[in-house]
Subunit: 151 residues, 2 copies
């Protein structure tokens, strides 16, 4: 299985989209993240077709974002778990939630809240500069060619 529609572009956005660009994948990750990690549970929760769910799960396992493991020998039953690579993708989900809360939640307010372990408070994620720790938005930066740039 492969897509390679975007995989060979010299762009980290495109290469990330190659892994989770298809719209069901982030929702599958979200569900696994919150503990919905078996095939039928995912199908019930998402309303996705079983065929596509099987394809997506196989793809995400192949990409080392999810791990398929047997949690019972007889009968053989499987569940899906996030790898480290997949956990870091969940950071991306966190930012998507921030944008969705801000621009699409309406007057009902955000559907879920997040409590930060370190401080125990309800909070959301903000982007900060890895060098100076100050806020870093897309409008605060210059884009320069890097070592892996196209020839």
């Amino acid at each position: 299985m492969q897509r390679t529609q975007f995989a060979d572009m010299a762009c980290s956005i495109a290469r990330t989209l190659d892994v989770i660009g298809e719209p069901w994948s982030p929702l599958i990750l979200r569900d696994v993240y919150v503990g919905i990690n078996r095939f039928d549970q995912l199908q019930d929760d998402l309303g996705i077709s079983r065929k596509v769910l099987a394809q997506r799960l196989a793809w995400l396992v192949e990409q080392d974002v999810l791990e398929r493991r047997q949690y019972t020998d007889r009968p053989p039953r499987h569940e899906y778990a996030l790898t480290v690579k997949g956990q870091e993708l969940c950071d991306l989900l966190l930012v998507m939630v921030g944008w969705g809360d801000r621009w699409t939640a309406g007057q009902a307010g955000p559907p879920v809240l997040y409590r930060h372990h370190a401080c125990g408070e309800i909070a959301h994620a903000e982007l900060h500069c890895s060098h100076c720790d100050r806020p870093m938005r897309a409008t605060d930066i210059d884009v320069l060619p890097g070592p892996g740039a196209a020839p």
Copy 2:
């Protein structure tokens, strides 16, 4: 035009995906962000079909992520620009870049680098807690139901 596949879910991830879940949309945003903002330029750069490009641009304009404006009267010529809503979506792209650089760049290194205006250094974006300013990862939080939760 509408998708509403995800729009009515009580989930900010799904609602964000409703706007930019289709895989070309983030790449269109990226291009507009770096100054590729005319129809033919976008088509050349992305290799997308003209039909789908027209659809996506119309959708993004309708969603108030992009703005279509005439930059010449005669002949009438148009370009696309990010709205504030769209600029904030670019923060999401920044996080996608971070993940893609880390997990898909290979030994060639990242294709582009980012220089933060505030400190002038090459850096990348990290997630911090809006309350205590310390790092905030998907693994550092509890998820709680919020005011807009499903009934």
